[in-house]
Each structure stands twice: as structure tokens, then as C-alpha cells.
Symmetry: C2
Subunit: 199 residues, 2 copies
């Protein structure tokens, strides 16, 4: 059901100024097409991040990594480290937009709280750098890299490696973050019934 970014831009140009269309709320119309996209997979002990560049329709990895926080570190020390690492990665690699996975299943309130804390530290760093943040449906992320919604973790790493032409498969956290960025590139500018949601 998707259209290419170019086709979509043409549609937008032709429809510009039409209040009827404006109020109909075309899905996906607010999702910017970006050349350099940061994907983040926040978690307290291992936040993955990855920057993907698009050139003439071809994707490549600019940089990626995992913010590792040993189990012995206090929670707030991890949050500071996560914030600083993402701030530094953004300064160094200059992404234009950020994508994260959206609603997920947590086992219990405690887990949701700790995951939320890692997301909050991450997203504050990204928003303070001036980037818009978009949430991707987890199923779409898996779909974008593996062709079906239930891809195993090892599968994501290998597919990300192939899609980005990397010599080695990235570690699981960085692979998840790169997968989110790849999914964003796929979705941006498409007409979709479930577009990335700015948060």
C-alpha cells in the first residue's frame, strides 16, 4: 500500500493549500523524510543506538554502539551515562531525526518503570539536541528488517548486517536500534494506516 517518497512529495505539492485534504489528516504526512536517522533502543544496562544514512535510495550505517552499564552501577549513574552517550553520538554524527520503538509489553509495573526511566534519560538527550522523536510499532520494525513480524534476535542482527552491508553483525542492542532507524527510513513519506507517531 506504500508509495515512494518522491511520489508522496508530488502528491503533497499538488494537494498543497487544499483545506479539505488538510483536515482529512493524511496519515504519515507529518513524518519527515530524513537523510540521517538515529535509532535508539533504550534499556538501563544496554541502550543500543545506530545512525543510518540514505544516499540516492541506498542505506548505510554511519555509526552504532551500545551504552553498557554494569549491574553494579546505581540506576541513576546509568541514566546519566545513557544521556551523555546519546548527546555525544548526536553531536558527532548529526542525525536529523530520531526513531524509537513504541508501546511494548512489560512484565510488570516495576519493569515498566525501569524501562521508562531509560527511555526518559534517552529521549531528554535527543529532544535537547533539537531532534524530533518518532515511535515505530515494534511489529513494523521487525517487518522492515526481516520480512515478517516475529523475527528472532539473531535474525535481526544478520538482516541488519546484510541491509547495511556491514562486515560483521552488530551486537543485539545496536542491531535493534539500527532496525528501528531502517524501519523509519522505510516508513517516512509513505502513506500508511499506522505511521510513525511523533512523541
Amino acid at each position: 500500500m506504500g508509495v515512494s517518497a518522491r511520489q508522496f512529495e508530488e502528491m503533497r505539492r499538488r494537494l498543497a493549500g487544499s483545506r479539505a485534504v488538510e483536515s482529512a489528516g493524511l496519515p504519515g504526512r507529518d513524518v519527515p523524510v530524513a537523510r540521517v536517522v538515529l535509532g535508539v533502543d533504550p534499556s538501563l544496562r544496554g541502550t543500543g543506538w545506530g545512525v543510518v544514512r540514505v544516499d540516492s535510495g541506498r542505506m548505510s550505517a554511519v555509526a552504532y554502539g551500545t551504552v553498557k552499564c554494569p549491574a553494579g552501577w546505581e540506576r541513576t549513574r546509568c541514566l546519566a551515562r545513557i544521556h551523555e552517550a546519546l548527546r555525544d553520538a548526536i553531536r558527532e554524527h548529526g542525525p536529523e531525526v530520531c526513531a524509537v520503538e513504541g508501546l511494548f509489553h512489560a512484565q510488570n509495573l516495576r519493569t515498566a518503570l525501569v524501562m521508562g526511566e531509560a527511555r526518559g534519560a534517552s529521549m531528554a538527550a535527543v529532544a535537547m539536541a533539537g531532534l524530533g522523536v518518532f515511535e515505530m510499532a515494534p511489529r513494523k520494525v521487525k517487518l522492515a528488517v526481516a520480512g515478517h513480524g516475529g523475527a528472532a534476535k539473531a535474525g535481526v542482527g544478520r538482516m541488519v548486517q546484510r541491509l547495511l552491508g556491514l562486515d560483521d553483525a552488530p551486537g543485539p542492542d545496536a542491531a535493534d536500534a539500527l532496525a528501528v532507524a531502517i524501519a523509519y527510513v522505510h516508513e517516512a513519506g509513505r502513506v500508511s494506516t499506522n505511521p510513525p507517531r511523533r512523541v
Copy 2:
């Protein structure tokens, strides 16, 4: 069951070097007695904060406020604002330690996630400023300002006003944050079976 900070320090001095006592893990021994304490009550739309000073056993309010984020703001814009506001408050008022409420009851996973995000943005700012963060049991916070564990919100504001000698009762979010700081002052250096926990 509490002892004064001075009595406690004397106990520590006398017991210093005793491995038997060290391994017994005296509760509360790692909770520093601080002269200037920051209390934070994180929430996405209205994070309360308050700085309390202790001079010769007398408490006073240095500054307090609420970080207001309109309902129309995107979540990540709020997280950035919360982080920046706490960073600035710490720079201006120089607290030595930070206290937040510990585990709480969230209605559902979604609520816990959003509350966690506000906590994460807050705690990253505090930890990046080099402050230790301690979690206080919610019941102890209410107890410290109102004498019993189930004080109503309006009651907390009025009791905080009286305890700190303020002309007016602070708004509810700032009052909750000041209450956390007051509870920390009460607990620090005491021997307790449930001391503030560094996180």
C-alpha cells in the same frame, strides 16, 4: 527509635575499623547528612522540585517550583524541559544530595512507563550534576510532614508551609517535592530499619 545525627556520627567514629560491625551493615550508615537537600517529585506535566537548607537544626526553603508542561506539548519536549529546569535549579541553588519518592502504585503499564520517563529525565539531570539520589518510602514522606501516613494533598502543602515558615502554601507539586526533602533531612544519619535507599 531514631538517634540524632551527632550521636550517630559518634557511634560511627567509635565503631570505625571494626569489621564485625562493618559486615553487619548498620542501616542508614550510607545516607549522608547534608546541609542543602533537593527534593524532586517527577511527573510529565508538572514536576515539583524544592531545595531545603538545614542550619543549626533549623530547616528553611531555599527555592522551589513546578516545571509545567502544557498538555499540547509532545512528551519528549516535556522531558527536555524537565531535564533543563532541574539542571538549572541545581546550578543556581547548589544542593548536595537529592531525594525522590520510591516505589509507587501506577494504575497500569502505560502510566508506569510515562511516570518512568519523567523520572528518567529528572534523575539523569541530577546524576549528571554529580548528586547522589536517594529513594524515600512514600509513607515516610507523608509521616515526616503530617505526622501520619495518609495525609491528604492539601494537608501536605499546609504542613510544608508551617515547617518551613513560608508565607504561603506551595502548589501541590512543589509541596510534595519539599516534603520529600524534609523527610530526607529527618532520616539522614538516623538508625532506621528502612533507610533511604541510594539508587
